[in-house]
Symmetry: C2
Subunit: 187 residues, 2 copies
Amino acid sequence: MRDDRGRTRGWQRLSTTLTHRGPYFELRLDDVVRPDGSRGTYEHVVSRGGVTVLAVDDDGGVVLTRQWIYTHGVVQWRLPSGGIDPTDGNAESAARRELAEETGLQAARWCRIGKVSGADSFTNHVDHVFLAADLTEGTAARQAGEADLEVSRLPFENAVDLVLSGQMSHAASAYAILVAAASRTRR
Amino acid sequence: MRDDRGRTRGWQRLSTTLTHRGPYFELRLDDVVRPDGSRGTYEHVVSRGGVTVLAVDDDGGVVLTRQWIYTHGVVQWRLPSGGIDPTDGNAESAARRELAEETGLQAARWCRIGKVSGADSFTNHVDHVFLAADLTEGTAARQAGEADLEVSRLPFENAVDLVLSGQMSHAASAYAILVAAASRTRR
């Protein structure tokens, strides 16, 4: 499909059908026109997305979690992270809630690092990534699925090592740490 | 749920039911025991995962693509990337195929950078990330959904800028470029 200036256009959605609604995501089947002009269907998962928090203490320590990740069937290192709830309002509110729930920490300073998305052949899921600083301690309030979650702190360089040695494959966590590392190098 | 040494364990899957099978993923509903010992269900998407290729030419140029990403409804920069097909055999074969299909390039040298996963609250999708070098030109063979795909090359530092300025949010692409940047800094 080409527009009036001869450029190839992207996909067009003609209609969408909700085929399944679960508590955390919807499954949709769309009737589409592909970029080459052919008709087809596109099946995809609609999600509210998630948040990930690079919380750094006054000594430069990074707050990390370790927990069993159900979908991968292993224990993984990552930054505090979780899904956006319908009641969160926006991504930063979700980030504040997730940090507090998983670690008990409150942060006085918040700054948006960016966002990443993966599996985007079938989902619109976006992970919004924040830097949190000026931390104060509080009490964690973990969900039933997070009872095994362990919180620890590592010097920033050790967190970078976990990413570069392949021990932290959670995309938004790796992104947050590597962006922070690149920013330090460039300063 | 605690094991015999008193440690909290992760999730346990008691049974799984296939509730939907599409061409690219399955939807499953599992009967589970959560880490706190409570019973529940876990709905998740089973995917073959994908591959992403950081292809670098002899002058240090990085091969980039721009295309309409259906699930996000925008044109995005990224590295050559795509889903693993049932016929691919393994992730590196899929990476060779995707690079050739999208860009026409063949690479004589392949090296695994790592893997990342996002949206892992609801999918096991993993993106396997490779470095490809010693490139030779060939002819691209794009799929119907990729007719709008544009290929270009940028100096490595400009690719890093695209990530750090928030213009490349594709998780595996950002990860590949930032890992390569961190490795160069540390050398």
